[in-house]
């Protein structure tokens, strides 16, 4: 029985990839999880594994081709015990890791190894039982020693050298990844058997869900978050929004408070360069960015995505509102490109539409801050002429205390509150 092996979905919004090399040829026997082609996406170089076992009867791609998700890579004459498992197949393919983590792999996660203080073991068997166990580590003795010295299990390191050879640099990279990794399978406590308490259903995590889980899990466990709550008087902002909304509509957009907040945040970034930054912990440097891209959290059926509006400092609010409208539509239909999801310096997340007040947003690493906007409500405020009804929006700023101290965070948030309170200088046009 022949089966077509197609390019699996590679993760959020990756629709095509370039073939770097084809790792099998016609007539080759492949086993489940054997890598068959190596591809490159904007995010990563990935080895695509076969999801079943069989003999390659046809190779449909060659190095240099651009392949779309779902396109046939090769045809397998499947062996009996390697029947395709269509229901699980999609979940077999793994998403690319979030950007900024370098080369990633489509191979299954390595096994957890015994701790150093393991009890005595039998003499090493002369003929190892499984292929993985049989093959020595693809690293020189000095590299293996180096890995031991810094506490890295070299069997878990992915080699970047020719054929996958592991270098000292690969060991360092792995060590760095470990240092930034959140709780892993090793540290997650076993779950109780919920079915003892009542009926349950188990559903697989979608790729987007898994990516979000990993991304926010890592951010939450590695970044020392501080969250400040403030309230901004957006009465005048709202008046200006009403006055200008027809201009936005004329240009195909919808003018929202979020568009105005994005513009204000970009101004705040210009005033506070330390917030427009990322931490390079390995080099013990802070990367200051001379551009002003602002991400916006968008709620979609598939989960959270954060498209980015670039060069906000050079755009007026109407332009921003139009771009934001387009990005939101693309996000909902799952059409955002990789480029539209990358390069943000700070994110704005607005839960006001759902009635939320203050909350504690998680930083979208490698950003160092995120601004949460809650539902604006009319409140009685003592002004110069006594109690006045003012429209008050709750703002929540989370920042990375490794880079930004509390007072600086407070100043940054105050700047935003003040700017929203006196919006006259804001450029809606021109």
């Amino acid at each position: 029985m022949t089966t077509d092996i197609k390019l699996p979905e590679l993760g959020e919004n990756i629709e095509e990839a370039d073939v770097l090399s084809v790792l099998v040829s016609e007539g080759d026997q492949v086993f489940k999880d054997d890598p068959i082609i190596e591809i490159e996406t904007e995010k990563a170089t990935i080895e695509v594994p076969s999801f079943l076992e069989g003999t390659v009867s046809r190779v449909a791609v060659s190095a240099g081709d651009t392949v779309e998700v779902g396109q046939v890579i090769l045809t397998l004459d499947a062996s009996e015990d390697g029947e395709p498992q269509a229901s699980t197949r999609e979940e077999e393919s793994r998403p690319a890791e979030p950007a900024g983590r370098g080369v990633t792999t489509a191979e299954p996660p390595p096994e957890v190894t015994a701790p150093a203080s393991s009890p005595p073991i039998a003499p090493p068997p002369h003929i190892p039982a499984s292929e993985e166990g049989a093959l020595p580590v693809f690293a020189s003795p000095s590299t293996r020693t180096f890995a031991r010295e810094i506490g890295v299990d070299v069997r878990q390191v992915r080699g970047s050298g020719p054929g996958g050879r592991i270098s000292d640099e690969d060991v360092k990279l792995h060590s760095r990844t470990l240092a930034f990794a959140g709780p892993t399978a090793e540290t997650v406590r076993p779950l109780p058997d919920f079915s003892e308490f009542g009926p349950i259903e188990r559903i697989p995590m979608s790729r987007v869900r898994r990516t979000i889980a990993e991304h926010v899990g890592q951010a939450a466990s590695t970044i020392p978050h501080v969250t400040l709550f403030e309230s901004a008087d957006v009465t005048e902002v709202e008046e200006m929004r009403s006055r200008n909304k027809s201009k936005s509509e004329a240009a195909g957009g919808k003018l929202t408070i979020t568009a105005i907040v994005i513009k204000v945040v970009a101004g705040a970034l210009e005033a506070f360069p330390m917030v427009n930054a990322s931490l390079d912990a390995k080099r013990r440097e802070i990367v200051l960015k001379r551009y002003f891209h602002v991400g916006v959290a968008a709620d979609t059926d598939r989960g959270l995505v954060v498209p980015v509006i670039r060069d906000v400092d050079r755009k007026n609010i109407i332009d921003i509102s139009v771009e934001l409208t387009k990005l939101a539509a693309k996000a909902r239909s799952g059409k955002l490109s990789l480029g539209e999801l990358q390069g943000g310096n700070i994110a704005v997340t607005n839960l006001g539409g759902l009635g939320t007040g203050h909350f504690t947003p998680i930083i979208n690493a490698p950003d160092v801050a995120i601004l949460g906007v809650g539902r604006a409500e009319l409140r009685p405020v003592y002004g110069e002429s006594g109690l006045e009804p003012r429209l008050i929006a709750p703002l929540s700023l989370s920042f990375d205390h490794r880079v930004i101290d509390g007072a600086d965070g407070a100043r940054f948030l105050h700047w935003i509150v003040d700017a929203l309170g006196k919006p006259q200088p804001l450029a809606f046009e021109g």
Partner: protein, 474 residues
Amino acid sequence: MSQAGEKLRIAVIGAGPGGYPAAFHAADLGMDVTLIDPEPNPGGVCLYRGCIPSKALLHAAGVIRESERAAELGIRFPPPEVDLEGLRGWKDKTVRQLTGGLGMLRDRRKVDYVQGWARFLDAHALEVTGPGGDEVRVEFDYAIVATGSRPATVPALDLDSPRVMDSTEALALNDVPTSLLVVGGGYIGLELGTVYAALGTSVTVVEMTSGLLPGVDRDLVDVLQRRLEGDLDRILLDTKVVDIAESGAGLRVELSPQSDESGGEYEKVLVSVGRRPNSENLGLESTDAEVSDQGFILTDSQRRTGEPSIFAIGDVAGEPMLAHKATGEARVAVDAIAGHPSAFDPSAVPAVVFTDPEIAWCGLTETEADKANVRVEVATYPWVASGRAATLSRRDGLTKLIVQPRTERILGMGIVGPGAGELIAEGVLAVEMGARVKDLELTIHPHPTLSESLMESAGVFFGVSPHYIARRRG
């Protein structure tokens, strides 16, 4: 335990190629070392009764064989006259020089040497019984057991006769019997059988399994076997020794199946059916160290036993029972004691059979790959295409690479031919460094040498060996 600032006290039991390097390395790291061994000088089986005397005798055998083969080259020698006393004297002198040298190195390092047999009293004390029956107590922070192994026997061969030899007695070279039955076609039996055959003994090898050197790749063994069939009287495979009995001037041996032409009478019998670890009579039961059913002391990757203060290395700690493995483990164990994160994790432990031709291999063998279901590609270069082999009049060797197909990484190497034991070192380095076939192919090798066969075998892998036209890879 020693107090802060005091030297760590290390006791090393056994001064073979595991024990003496352990003692020397510990002394070099500033530890207070006691080395315990029954012999007056370090060396162990390897130097006194193993590697070194056997290689000395194999060299002598090689000289005899070379002189015979010289006729092919147009040089004729009269048959050699063997002065057995002279040969034995030279062999013993070689051993004395090396062990004496180790004794000097030991003294220079101020290693405390206690001659005798050690027994553990508990996890931090030993009792050593000297050759004169005197007893000494040795206390230690850490002990390293390196007591090695001894020739194994089987009940059918358990005859108390001076005509039944083990490898130690065979190496003593007391006489050259007219006929010798070697029981066991492993490397010890073949090496010693080769020696006696060259000295003029009619040698029969009997092996229980279907081939010589069980476990070694057949294509390598085949080359050796073809030559042995000329040098030895008979090679009996799939054959067991059922009984041995004294019979007049020799030994009557009953084989199963009985060989029609074997006659069953031999002047001497050499029993070489393997080696057993020396883990008994050490008092290990007074500690938490554990011993496997095969008699090996169980250890972790640092060679630490179940008793945290006791390590075990070398033959007594598991296969492969090879001197250089013991030396490697010595370093790992001492570094672990010194607090370094060491581990014994070689990618390739080389093995050499010093017959003529030699067989050497390292890393994964084709046989192991088959057994473990590891997919490999094998590239073989026959020495018939080697210029150097032709000038040596030895064109029967071959060099093979075991390669992981996907990465083209060299996982193992096997060589049969004169000098294979020296050539394999490059293979060990290739496997340890994770060399790919391309690396070996593009490394310039000196011409004309047998080492070119390694480069050429890499060429075979790619179908581009200049001197050998192999089928191109699909």
